[in-house]
């Protein structure tokens, strides 16, 4: 494991972690080792979660014999580290593989290749009893508060089931009385009433159901939580409640999150670091302030410029990305973003973009990007790009949750 990988400062939130490309695609020479490596985190500066070259392909079968004719490359070699106590936000459009990544890390989907280390233990290699023991330490909160709770179980069983599954002599969760108390405790921890344990999921609102889902995950005392778009199905006013709850729980229990979302404001609010995915690859990762103030990948720039500004007087011209997201079954050669890249157009279509897959290189400390020309991005270049776009009047169509990247309409940009 290379030394520049991650460490955290004593405070626990101001984290300086490097996302690692692990197996030598980059000479990651720039980043100095983080401060206080030895003293800060319990795992000797080792990240709690380390994802290394993770690949998840969905095979495509065709023909009468159902032969294997190709793969949907949902996650195609993603490497990243999450230090203990950090919240890593993962953004990208629909179908870019961010949810698949989260589920593959938790072994809810079988990985094609790669490694996932939880506290140094290889998650993908464990089976049977070992895997079950490991599952206690990593849990998930789902997007859909309706389908994530079994409609035929009372809340006490929904939360208690994991306790039964993980019961042993030491924790005593096999006993009904112990379990009931614990279920009640965790309901209170997530801000619900103890006696809700008797009720069924359909008796709750979306936000309450999401809290139940969080309680279910939390009751097993996990260290690592994958939040798979936990607020995107909720009302905006409820979204903030759940986000604050997640932040509080992180502080109280010292949790580590992989926070998957497509809402850029949500990710900005909750994350310490942000990773941007496009077509199964990580294209940029940086501490949250750095990513939002100084995006270095043309795709990130386009994403960020699509965030609507709550100011009706602001007249903007649109920067529209060409075309649709290509099929992950047949990704473009070289840089996967090149057919839609506005920067490439500005630079006069350099050949490199089409032929060479850009390495995920470290631009500044902790700021990594997979673009050959990341240094060329500036306000001037962006303004030029916008100026060349056809003049489309500012649309007043705003999705209910503000910045829904999942809509099929093209990503547009606000200059400057």
């Amino acid at each position: 494991m290379s030394s520049e990988r991650s460490a955290m400062t004593a405070g626990g939130t101001d984290v300086e972690a490097a996302v690692d490309t692990a197996h030598g695609s980059t000479p990651a020479s720039v980043g100095p080792p983080g401060p206080d490596v030895a003293s800060a985190s319990p795992g000797n500066g080792q990240p709690l979660v380390s994802i290394q070259e993770l690949v998840k392909f969905y095979p495509i079968h065709g023909g009468i014999l159902r032969r294997h004719v190709g793969d949907v490359r949902a996650v195609d070699g993603v490497s990243l580290d999450i230090p203990r106590g950090e919240i890593l936000g993962l953004v990208g459009e629909s179908g870019c593989g961010k949810s698949t990544l989260g589920k593959t890390v938790l072994r809810l989907l079988p990985a094609t290749s790669g490694r996932v280390l939880l506290d140094g233990e290889d998650v993908l290699a464990r089976t049977g009893r070992d895997l079950k023991r490991l599952r206690r330490r990593m849990q998930i909160v789902f997007q859909d508060p309706v389908s994530s709770l079994n409609p035929r179980m009372p809340v006490s069983d929904i939360i208690g089931e994991g306790l039964v599954a993980q019961a042993d002599a030491e924790n005593g969760w096999g006993k009904r009385s112990v379990r009931d108390k614990r279920v009640g405790d965790y309901l209170e921890v997530v801000g619900l009433r103890r006696d809700y344990a008797r009720r069924f999921p359909h008796e709750f609102s979306g936000g309450q159901r999401q809290r139940i889902g969080i309680a279910r995950a939390l009751a097993l005392e996990p260290e690592f939580l994958v939040c798979d778009e936990p607020v995107s199905a909720l009302d905006v006013s409820i979204q903030s409640q759940i986000l604050n709850l997640l932040l509080d729980l992180r502080r109280e229990f010292g949790l580590t999150y992989l926070f998957v979302a497509h809402n850029l404001s949500v990710v900005q609010y909750i994350s310490d670091r942000v990773g941007v995915m496009y077509l199964g690859k990580l294209v940029e990762s940086a501490p949250v302030e750095s990513l939002y103030e100084d995006p270095r990948h043309p795709y990130t720039v386009a994403l960020l410029s699509a965030v609507p500004v709550a100011d009706p007087r602001r007249r903007t011209r649109r920067l529209v990305l060409k075309g649709d997201v290509p099929s992950p079954a047949a990704p473009p050669s070289g840089c996967r973003f090149h057919p839609r890249c506005w920067l490439r157009e500005q630079l006069g279509d350099p050949e490199q973009c089409e032929t060479v897959d850009p390495p995920f290189r470290e631009l500044a400390s902790g700021h990594r990007v997979a673009c050959h020309f990341a240094e060329r991005i500036s306000k001037g270049v962006l303004a030029d790009a916008v100026a060349e776009q056809p003049d489309i009047p500012t649309s007043d169509v705003v999705e209910p949750d503000g910045q829904d990247l999942e809509s099929p309409k093209p990503v547009d940009a606000v200059p400057g």
């Binding site: 626990g12 809810l108 895997l131 389908s147 089931e161 994991g162 009433r193 008797r198 005392e221 109280e252």
Partner: protein, 344 residues
């Protein structure tokens, strides 16, 4: 920062949070927040709008099964169905005790083609002078037994095979579904006729076995289809994430949610089996002629209908229809009662 692996620390944090919440609740009760807008930020405060105490009293001590039973009892049609069905079942069991004429004692008809309903023969008589009321009572035994037991066999087999195929998928699914395809592809009647010869003709038990073993593929397909869609549900992933075993997931999470359409299909299956038995008996491949079922009573009555002797066909037919409807009502009631989302 605390190490979350230490169970004591974790529990302490929980205790602390719970205590703080309790404190917040008592504070709030002592001095409720001013102003009407309750949209305040502290999510450790009690879930404000949900305090409908009345509702809780109702739910206080009822278990899942008690709730289901209560929902069933409040389902009017289901209760009607249950009463009719119990009556029929009672007749089938104690029938020979209450029947007015012995099976072997044929009172004889005064009119050629059979007597119409009268005080002596409330349902009339057959051409041979047999009392139709006696036919209906005696027929209940075989008809109900064939319908009920073949339904149970088909239900058990269907749920088992469908669950295995749907949950495991892959080659398990492929293998089992090809068996199902084969069973669907061979003409149903043909197998029944051959099997009736093979298993021993005229045996009620062999009829039950044949019907049961031939009709499960329908149920299996239904169960499999539900499993395939429910397998992808988030709550199944959640259960796997907390370490619940495959078997438990299949039976505790997926099956209960897949059962609704299966129950309805099973009641329909029972109805169609009763009718099928009539048909097979009519072709002389079913029960022996010396035995009586609603089906063969109906079949034998066909010639009498031309003469206008409606009663011979009407009463066994009504018995079949009533039973089938009753079973369907019960099926509907069960489906609703087992679904916690339906109103209690």
């Amino acid at each position: 920062m605390t190490d979350p692996r230490d169970p004591h620390t974790h529990d302490e944090v929980v205790d602390d949070l719970v205590a703080r919440r309790d404190e917040a609740v008592t504070d709030l009760m002592r001095s409720p927040p001013e102003g009407a807008d309750g949209a305040f930020v502290d999510h450790y405060a009690p879930g404000a709008p949900d305090a409908d105490a009345e509702y809780e009293v109702a739910l206080e001590s009822l278990s899942q099964w008690q709730l289901a039973r209560r929902r069933f009892r409040r389902h009017r049609l289901a209760m009607v169905g249950l009463v009719i069905f119990s009556l029929m079942l009672g007749v089938a069991i104690v029938g020979p005790i209450v029947q007015p004429y012995e099976f072997t004692n044929i009172p004889g008809a005064s009119r050629q083609g059979g007597d119409p309903p009268s005080l002596e023969h409330v349902f009339g008589t057959t051409r041979e002078g047999r009392d139709v009321f006696e036919l209906v009572i005696n027929g209940a035994r075989i008809s109900m037994a064939v319908g009920l037991f073949s339904m149970l066999i088909a239900g058990f087999m269907g749920v088992l095979v469908g669950s295995l195929a749907g949950y495991f998928g892959g080659w398990v699914d492929n293998g089992l579904m090809r068996v199902v395809d084969v069973l669907f592809a061979i003409p149903f009647l043909f197998i029944i006729l051959v099997a009736a010869r093979f298993f021993g003709q005229g045996q009620v038990s062999s009829l039950i076995l044949i019907f049961g073993l031939l009709s499960w593929p329908l149920i299996a397909r239904l169960v499999r289809a539900s499993f395939l869609s429910l397998r992808e549900a988030d709550f199944v992933d959640a259960a796997r994430a907390v370490g619940v075993s495959d078997l438990r997931i299949a039976f505790r999470h997926i099956l209960p949610n897949a059962l609704g359409p299966v129950i309805v299909a099973m009641t329909l299956l029972m109805a169609s089996t009763i009718i099928l038995e009539a048909f097979v008996s009519f072709l002389n491949f079913g029960i022996q002629e010396t035995q009586v079922s609603w089906g063969n009573a109906l079949a034998n009555a066909q010639s009498a209908l031309i003469l206008g002797n409606w009663w011979w066909a009407f009463f066994p037919g009504m018995a079949i229809a009533l039973t089938v409807i009753a079973i369907n009502f019960i099926g509907d009631g069960l489906r609703d009662a087992l679904d916690p989302r339906s109103r209690a």
